[in-house]
């Protein structure tokens, strides 16, 4: 047996988390919701892939965007989808959006002492037909909002959204109050501008942009007719309608 008495003590450790960059964003309208994310996945200064979706269709009226540690994010989405399938089998209907939000809270808090290293944004259509966005912290604290940005470039995007969606620091002309909700074309333009801006100034954002649009039942789809790169994902003819719009972002 070799003599090891003179050797220095060695320390090893395993760090179970990584930060994979990227940014997600969701904006609610009166009767629609837009949920978007870039498709770059990186580790440090290396790009692992230019197409790794961060936005996922959960039901015909709910979309979940997951940002942070990609492995945790993918596993979390998988488990949420599994719980939603069980719900369908038990209740013969889709889980409503506000119930999915509460489910996500419970699932995140269940991992309170070894959390999923992710920020979640849930978007879709509520039972009353209104557009809704729910944002979560990694351990399940959540809130319903009109808009939210999360991820690597959230500090760049969120103040822009405060200004353009909530009209913060803007005074309306007398007798013309600021709108509570914006029309779909305006929202799409703001989402695209937010991501092109974030791509310009943040190295972890870029490559591609995926925007999910959920429209409440009976709503006109006219505003999406002339949008480039739109693809319909609707499964049922008589329900809410879902679309995905794919755009290129700068790859440098």
């Amino acid at each position: 047996m070799p003599d090891t008495a003179h050797e220095q003590p060695q320390q090893r450790q395993f760090y179970p988390y990584t930060e994979n960059g990227g940014t997600i964003l969701a904006i609610a309208g009166a009767d629609f919701t837009v949920i978007a994310g870039d498709t770059r996945q990186s580790e440090g200064y290396s790009i692992q892939t230019r197409y790794a979706p961060k936005v996922f269709r959960l039901t015909e009226r709910a979309v979940l965007a997951v940002n942070g540690f990609a492995a945790d994010g993918n596993m979390f989405v998988k488990k949420v989808k599994q719980r939603l399938e069980w719900y369908r089998h038990a209740h013969a209907k889709e889980m409503p959006l506000r119930a999915i939000a509460r489910l996500i809270q419970t699932m995140l808090y269940a991992q309170r002492f070894f959390p999923y290293y992710v920020n979640n944004i849930l978007g879709g259509i509520e039972e009353d037909g209104s557009g809704a966005v729910y944002s979560f912290d990694p351990v399940g604290s959540y809130e319903r909002e009109a808009c939210r940005a999360a991820g690597a470039a959230s500090s760049l995007v969120q103040p822009f959204l405060d200004n353009q969606i909530y009209f913060k620091n803007q005074t309306p002309a007398p007798g013309t109050p600021h709108p509570t909700y914006l029309p779909l074309p305006d929202v799409l333009a703001i989402v695209i501008d937010s991501f092109t801006s974030a791509t310009e100034r943040h190295i972890e954002v870029g490559d591609g942009l995926e925007m999910y649009v959920v429209l409440a039942k009976g709503r006109s789809i006219e505003e999406l007719a002339d949008v480039a790169g739109v693809q319909e994902l609707t499964t049922r003819a008589d329900g809410d309608r879902m679309f995905v719009i794919q755009r290129e972002l700068k790859k440098d």
Binding site: Q158, P159, N169
Partner: protein, 208 residues
């Protein structure tokens, strides 16, 4: 504890059509504690050159006096006022002199450069704390809200803004950025510089 975030504060400068603007918040803090809401960080160096000094407050005062002295020496020697580009190099060399024990300031400059034909060219620049110059063509930012300023400015700024539109753009950029930064805010000040006048406007902002 980061020295750059000890007192808080942010500055931004933008180029417009035959004009420039430079703006800052008015907060002076001691880490999370607010101390004053009238702490200006932007100083006129000449009629057409303005300097913003976000960073450690004690160095704001020191550098302001340092530049006042160096500028007076330059004006006496050269018998003319300094041009913005020359001033940027003066700032750079002043900071690099302290390469291994720097002033904790990231200066931002805005001015109008006199051309041989008698006209003026908008000029903005910023440096890091040891004087590495960034001659940007659109906008420059510095301070504790810099990442927020980058995000909003990238979304709002466009080329060839007239002085009034440039004022609105820089004011909205600053106000919305500092509202998401705990170390910046508590009011703001905007300077718009054109060839025949420099306008200073003090803005109200969120006081939380």
């Amino acid at each position: 504890m980061s020295i750059m975030e000890y007192n808080g504060g942010s500055v931004i400068a933008m180029v417009g059509k035959d004009c420039v603007a430079i703006a800052s918040d008015l907060r002076l803090g001691n880490q999370a504690l607010g101390i004053a809401s009238d702490f200006e960080k932007i100083f006129p160096m000449t009629d057409r050159v303005y300097l913003g000094l976000p960073g450690l407050a004690t160095d704001v005062t020191t550098l302001r006096e340092q530049f006042r002295y160096r500028l007076n020496m330059y004006t006496i020697k050269e018998e003319r006022e300094i041009e913005p580009e020359t001033f940027a190099h003066l700032v750079s060399s002043t900071l690099y002199e302290r390469r291994f024990g720097p002033y904790f300031i990231e200066p931002v400059m805005a001015g109008l450069q006199r051309l041989p034909n008698g006209g003026y060219k908008p000029f903005i620049a910023a440096t890091d704390l040891i004087g590495c110059i960034n001659f940007a063509k659109d906008f420059v930012v510095a301070g504790t809200a810099s990442s927020k300023l980058f995000g909003v400015a990238e979304g709002l700024w466009e080329p060839d803004l007239e002085p009034e539109d440039l004022f609105e753009t820089i004011a909205q950029t600053l106000l919305n950025a500092v509202d998401r930064d705990a170390y910046s805010g508590w009011g703001a000040v905007v300077h718009v510089i054109t060839k025949d006048k420099a306008i200073k406007r003090v803005l109200k902002g969120r006081m939380d």
